[in-house]
Amino acid sequence: MTMSRQGVQPTEVIDRAAKLRFRWNGKRFSGFEGDTIASALAASGEQIFSRSMKYHRPRGILTADYWDPNLMVQVGDDPNVRAGHRLLESGMDVRSQNAWPSLNRDIKAANSLFGRFLTAGFYYKTFMRPQWLWPTYERVLATFAPGGKIDLDTPHAYHDKRYTHPDVVVAGAGPAGIEAALAASGEGASVLLVSHEHAVGGHLRYSSDAADQAALAELRAALDASDVEVLTDSTVTGRYEDNWLGIVQRNHPIAVERLIKARAKTLVAAPGLIERPYVFEGNDRPGVITSGAARRLANLWGVKPGERAVVFSANADGDAAAADLERVGTEIAAVIDGRTGGRISSTSGSSRAVDAVVADGASIDADLLVVAAGWTAPTSLLNMAGDRPVYDPAAARFFPSDPPSNVLATGGLAGDADLDGLRQHGAATGRLAAARAAAVRHRLQSRTARALPVDGDEPAWAPDERVPLGRDPHPELYRADTHGMVDMSEDISSKDLVAAAHEGYDSVELAKRYTTATMGPSQGKLETVNTVAAIAEARGETISQVGTTVWRPPYAPLTLGALAGRMFEPVRVSPIHPWHEANNVSIIQAGQWLRPDHYGDPAAEVRNVRENVGLIDVTPLGKLDLRGPDVPKLLSLLYVNKWMKLGVGRVRYGMMCAEDGVVLDDGVTGRLGEDHYMMSTTSSGAGGVWEWVENWLQTERPDWQVHVTPVTTAYASINVAGPKSRELMSRVCEGVDLDAEAFPYMTVREATVAGVAGCFMWRIGFTGELSFELHVPAGHGLHVWEALMDSGSDLGVGPFGLEAQRIMRLEKGHFIVGQDTDGLTLGPSTGLGSLIKLDKDDFAGKPELAWAADRSLPMVVAIQPDDPDVVPEEAAQIVRGDTNEILGRITSSRYSPTLNRSICLGQVEPDLAAGGTKVTVLLESGERIGATVIDHHAHFDPAGERLRG
């Protein structure tokens, strides 16, 4: 066939004054503003747009819209672009995707010669032997993968997201959809109208009928005058629970694409109908197009689809296509009427000709074969709402059965009528949608604490009193006995489906999986009905008996960029963060927190703390403010140890276990006042412990009087550690006697530090040194940190980071929950079993911890490699001698700058837990080294004199 641009059409959407130049496979082409890529190429006489997936048969325009399986092209770095939908832009670099070396000469076209061997599923039946060759076979098969190329350097450009809560969303902007939107808006509802196409109007856009055009103008004017929000070139991609909708907007001014998430009170589905191909031998040859394609080409873009056409018409659209073709100068060789028994059995002729062979074998010369063989009802959005469409043989298509009553169908999806009938049904649907939305809004408002109070009862759920649309009779035009293509994007013929059914893949789901029919880019919008029909014929059943497959989201493919949108990655920092950044800190990410790992030399930081004094920013340390008379009971319930007698100003260490006895978290809690406590948790456990506390208080002990407030970042937390820490504190601290007797280890005081009142000081420390843990009101945290740095310069004060702290806590043998313990570590395994007070009436995990006492459990122990210079990897396994039997593992391991040797914590089988036990550690290198379990966790200062100092 030869397509060419014709004179100006009254309905055309192109601006012939605006010429756009672009490249197609490297060659220069041009088109007009308003052209799609495909219409511009067609107008320039291009016939072949792609090669088919399996047989590499030449493919041309079929439907000339978004769903055309033959018009997938690469545009720059954008693969699988729908050339039938994407508007032409100046300078586009458009390439065909599935052909090598070129569209017109494709080497793999040879595959078509072997077609009889490449029946569906052939690859399951071969390439099993020799096994060692399979990887090679696989690489070859992979070269048949269809689709375009991605460019790994493509940036994730600005994509946007937005939420919206309209009363009514209308999916589809044909005459019925527009009327629904207008009517709902007229009832006072907020309405969002979503048009998949570049302009509203649906099938009216490409109708040359004067009445249709008048109606279109009227509807557009009404929309402009209304409050309806209209989105064009946008698609409702999915309907999820409670009418949660995904809508992708492809033409947003500031974003590549915008994903709109809409909570619609009611959804109106008005997607119209999709014309389905006609299955006969050679139905995929360039020059065989649908009636919709013919009319779009002629009326929207002024393109003459061919010189001499045979029109197969089984409905009014086919007749209209014939008329439109004549108007643009295509000679009509014949009109074969499908309603009176006319059929096409195959095409013949050389490459440019598509002579139609009719039922009686006669052949009609032509270069264009236009088919109007029926419709697919895109019931996707209704499927997603739980509906199961039902097939009506009289109308030869599926119809909705029983969607939820907040999803309403109108337009072609719901039935047939003349334009006025469709408009009336649309308007009635809009009114119903608005009425039901009002009831939903009333319910939402009456139940939402913050909402404007509503008066009156909830409106009754409006009954559906719409006059149902009729169903025009349509011939069932299916044929399974030819080699006609059922799925053009997958190269699946009716023969393939029949063969699959005979092999036993005879349910629609199995046949789909086995042949991959309907698995392509349009997900069956063109193919499903013909696929089901072929299976039905092979089984000797009806289409209704076979049933159809479930349409899953999205309605139309959705880019990963649009789904990701702007990526939110919350980051937490302490008030002291600016100081760290100004002092060559090396940052480590701990969950959402950015924390100082070290400032250049962790070992030096350790030595400075051991010899002088260091500061570490421990702001992320979890802190819960607990108030009320029942706090001690709460502490006794959540910790394994006792809390009823903690005096004001005292601090105690506690371990928490879950109900299964597994270690959950640990930390110290101090009593700040009569009924006022502060609980500290691990940094990573802060959020979880807070919820854990609330859960117990709200569900198990609602009568207890305790108020819990997370104050983790209400305070900047600074640990001042080292032999000279008391001296440093004395220079900045007012109102507190820092003397060891007055302010001993494991106590807490409130103080004014560097002029900041309301600071809390704890005499505790993870490092094992004399230390003061300061909690400073966050708005003054940086000030206090800097004050400490300034006043301590002569004491050699310096910052230290997490790494230095990890080393020092390991020197002291303090375990870290989640590193030295794991998801099965029971309380007693930590070596702190004596903490567990089973004589308490109740506490979390009590029964398991009681039974655990009689079980032999793995133990957390301190381990020292015999060779002090070998530092085992964390995760190195402890094995039995030269065997592969696992007896434990190293959980923490560092080189100690204080002891000048490697030191570890690990978990070992109970019989290895005794001090002095020799164990074998398997390094990652494969080397096995000797190591010794020591009889307490602390590698350094086991008596703890330094921290009491």
Binding site: Y240, E241, D242, N243, W244, K261, R263, K265, T266, N383, M384, A385, G386, D387, P403, P404, S405, N406, R436, A439, V440, R443, L444, R447, T448, A449, A451, W461, V550, R552, E659, D660, E691, E694, N695, Q698, T699, E700, D841, D842, F843, K846, P847, E848, W851
Partner: protein, 90 residues
């Protein structure tokens, strides 16, 4: 996105809440047998239908509440939004 009817806030997106699982009573820790306690820890009815379960309104009122939901249709016993009674395998 499921709407969960929080008794304090009103209907909220499920992502605003934390799921607490099946509601079940905690046995007396001092008298429970290992079998009873571990049934409480591990065994679940897991029905395909109405289930009383716990939710925590994490981004909202921060209150734990218990409510009945049909695990086959995601309908809540607390009257759901009118019209959305259909769920199930789409």
């Amino acid at each position: 996105m499921l709407l969960v009817p929080c008794p304090n806030c009103g209907p909220r997106n499920s992502t605003d809440l934390r799921y607490g699982g099946e509601s079940h009573a905690r046995p007396d820790p001092n008298t429970a047998s290992p079998a009873e306690w571990r049934a409480y820890l591990y065994l679940r009815d897991n029905p395909a239908g109405w289930l009383r379960e716990n939710w925590y309104c994490a981004s909202g009122c921060r209150r734990w509440f218990s409510i009945e939901r049909n695990t086959a249709t995601n309908e809540f016993r607390d009257p759901p939004l009118p019209g959305d009674k259909r769920g199930g395998a789409a």
